[in-house]
């Protein structure tokens, strides 16, 4: 298994992707909704709400959190504390939802797409190892999702700072836990999902079945990710590092198992006899 050979497949798939508007347009729309529109609207509401009933209610909710979580919320006024909570904790799961959704959609079609279009036959006869093909597909699905997240993260940071930065004494975002989230926690979640999705994609017979399998994998991971990232308020930095470490261990174990599961003959079309 050579990573440089896997990179050929990854580059090939990424090249194809850049030529497919069908993929690119939904990708941009999804990222825009989660990283731009929702934060813009939500933080806009908070920044304009002042001493409204909404802010009082959020303040009440914050006071019901454990003291350790309350201590981590910055801001000297209820409005600033509400803004900080929205920007740092409530919207954190978005950072995982977006790449997972994008990468899963691409990954689900990776192997089955080659089989359906016949390019799988070409790959099956090629001197590439199946693990190289597997990792190539994984990288090709990982990169768009992760790059979108990085770009979205940058835009999100701008929106947060410009919308509510004034309430918190200037630009305050990204916070340390967000850096850890983006650089340490998000990648293993994507890799774990893609490992399972590619493994399943190599076993099903059609693209719709691959999409179903992908949904089955992605939804629980999103729910799990939502849970753990929402809980970051309890212990932001150490929590994020810990979550990331566990996620990496699970992801690498899953990869070790799933990368061996791709059989060359599964790359061939279904009408494999003649």
């Amino acid at each position: 298994m050579s990573l440089s050979r896997a990179w050929i497949i990854a580059r090939l798939d990424l090249h194809r992707l850049t030529r497919s508007k069908d993929y690119l347009i939904p990708l941009v729309i999804l990222a825009s909704i989660f990283f731009v529109i929702i934060p813009w609207v939500m933080l806009g509401i908070v920044s304009r709400a002042g001493g409204s009933d909404l802010i009082q209610r959020i303040g009440g909710v914050l006071q019901s959190l454990p003291q350790v979580a309350q201590d981590n919320v910055k801001g000297s006024t209820p409005q600033a504390r509400a803004a900080y909570t929205f920007a740092v904790y409530l919207l954190a799961p978005v950072a995982i939802v977006v790449p997972l959704t994008i990468s899963s959609a691409i990954g689900a079609y990776g192997l089955i797409g080659d089989r359906e279009k016949g390019t799988g036959e070409y790959l099956a006869h090629s001197p590439l190892h199946t693990s190289e093909i597997f990792y190539g597909k994984l990288i090709a699905a990982f990169v768009p999702g992760y790059l979108t997240t990085i770009a979205g993260f940058g835009v999100y940071a701008l929106i947060v700072n410009t919308r509510v930065g004034g309430l918190l004494g200037g630009w305050f975002f990204p916070t340390p836990e967000w850096w850890i989230l983006i650089l340490w926690v998000v990648p293993p979640f994507i890799i774990f999902s893609l490992g399972v999705i590619l493994w399943a994609s190599g076993r099903v017979q059609s693209a719709p079945a691959a999409q179903q399998a992908s949904t089955l994998v992605t939804l629980p991971v999103i729910v799990m990710a939502y849970g753990v990232t929402s809980g970051l308020a309890l212990d932001p930095v150490r929590g994020a590092i810990g979550i990331g470490a566990v996620a990496w261990i699970i992801a690498l174990l899953v990869l070790r198992f799933t990368s061996r599961g791709l059989k060359r003959e599964r790359l061939l079309g279904t009408g494999s006899q003649n």
Binding site: G118, T119, H125, P127, R264, Q273
Partner: protein
């Protein structure tokens, strides 16, 4: 199986393959079987393909030709048996085997969003071929002008030409062509057959699956007649025809064809067949001048007398009728 081979005028399957195993084998199938569910696609196939030969697999759809190609490169794993390619196991050494094989599948597929040149560049990287091999390969198959267009705009013929260019980029020792001329225009077909001759001339081994018999004519060193996943007959076309289509025939035509019926009662004539020019089977070709003389004397206005040379197509259909549903 043995009786089939006697029927075909060959001593046995083993004698035919043994003859070729004297030459250094390029590909050896040793009792190879492969099934898909309940369907046995390849059934105890034992076959030796000589190095540097052009071997043509003939057979109807479902005969096991494509599966045999896929087994050769290790893309499929046999249920039983062993395949060696230039001494390498297609399973244990599959990676090495695939490096020395070039494959053109029956419906060549490409990364359609990309241009022809991009497809070839990635193929060159995957096959570890130098990029400088791309231009000559494209030139050879007449697709240079289309290289910068997206492949999804290519015609069937152009796709096949691109597949051929892709398959020869790394100058493979063995070229496996599965129905390479299906859907091609005559010019492209000629290019394919030209490639086969050229590669064979350089000592490379070509395996071609087809059911277009006229294509196999003249280029095949070895013909493998496939049926129900087995090699029903193996041999060079001349030997097979001499063995099987050994009957002595002459085609005769006349202005009034009904008068040719009298041939049936002439001495030395075994059979008379056909509605148009009749195919006359005789005991000895030496009696043909006497037959002609007799016909002329009886007032038959003869327009054609031609010794019947069996073609591969003729051989195929004769074998097919002899072997019946085994093909």
């Amino acid at each position: 199986m043995g009786s089939d081979w006697h029927q075909l005028g060959l001593d046995s399957r083993d004698s035919a393959t043994d003859r070729y195993s004297m030459i250094e084998p390029a590909i050896k199938f040793d009792d190879v079987s492969k099934s898909f569910g309940d369907t046995l696609a390849v059934d105890a196939l034992t076959l030796t393909i000589p190095r540097g030969s052009v071997t043509v697999f003939l057979g109807p759809n479902g005969a096991g030709k494509t599966t045999t190609v896929r087994l050769t490169t290790g893309a499929l794993v046999p249920d039983t048996g062993e395949i060696t390619v230039l001494g390498l196991s297609s399973i244990a050494d599959g990676h090495e085997v695939r490096k020395i094989c070039g494959v053109v599948p029956p419906k060549p597929a490409f990364f359609d969003q990309l241009s022809g040149i991009d497809n070839l560049k990635y193929a060159a990287e995957i096959a570890k071929a130098p990029r400088r091999a791309i231009a000559p390969a494209a030139e050879r198959f007449g697709i240079t002008d289309a290289l910068h267009r997206r492949v999804d705009g290519y015609s069937t013929g152009m796709r096949t030409r691109l597949a051929l260019a892709r398959a020869v980029l790394h100058d493979p020792e063995i070229l496996l062509l599965d129905e390479p001329t299906a859907g091609l225009d005559p010019e492209s077909s000629r290019a394919v057959l030209g490639l086969i001759r050229e590669m064979a001339g350089k000592g490379q081994t070509i395996v071609m699956c087809t059911h277009l018999l006229h294509e196999a004519e003249g280029i095949a060193d070895v013909v493998v007649l496939m049926g129900s996943g087995q090699a029903r007959a193996v041999g060079n076309p001349h030997d097979l025809m001499a063995s099987y289509a050994s009957e002595k025939c002459v085609a005769i035509d006349a202005v009034d064809r009904s008068m040719l019926a009298i041939l049936a009662n002439m001495p030395g004539v075994l059979t008379v067949n056909g509605d148009g020019p009749v195919k006359v089977t005789v005991e000895d070709m030496g009696i043909v001048p006497d037959l002609v003389k007799t016909l002329v004397e009886k007032g038959v206005d003869i327009t054609r007398v031609e010794p019947h040379t069996p073609t591969l197509e003729y051989l195929y259909f004769e074998m097919q009728s002899a072997l019946g549903d085994q093909l």
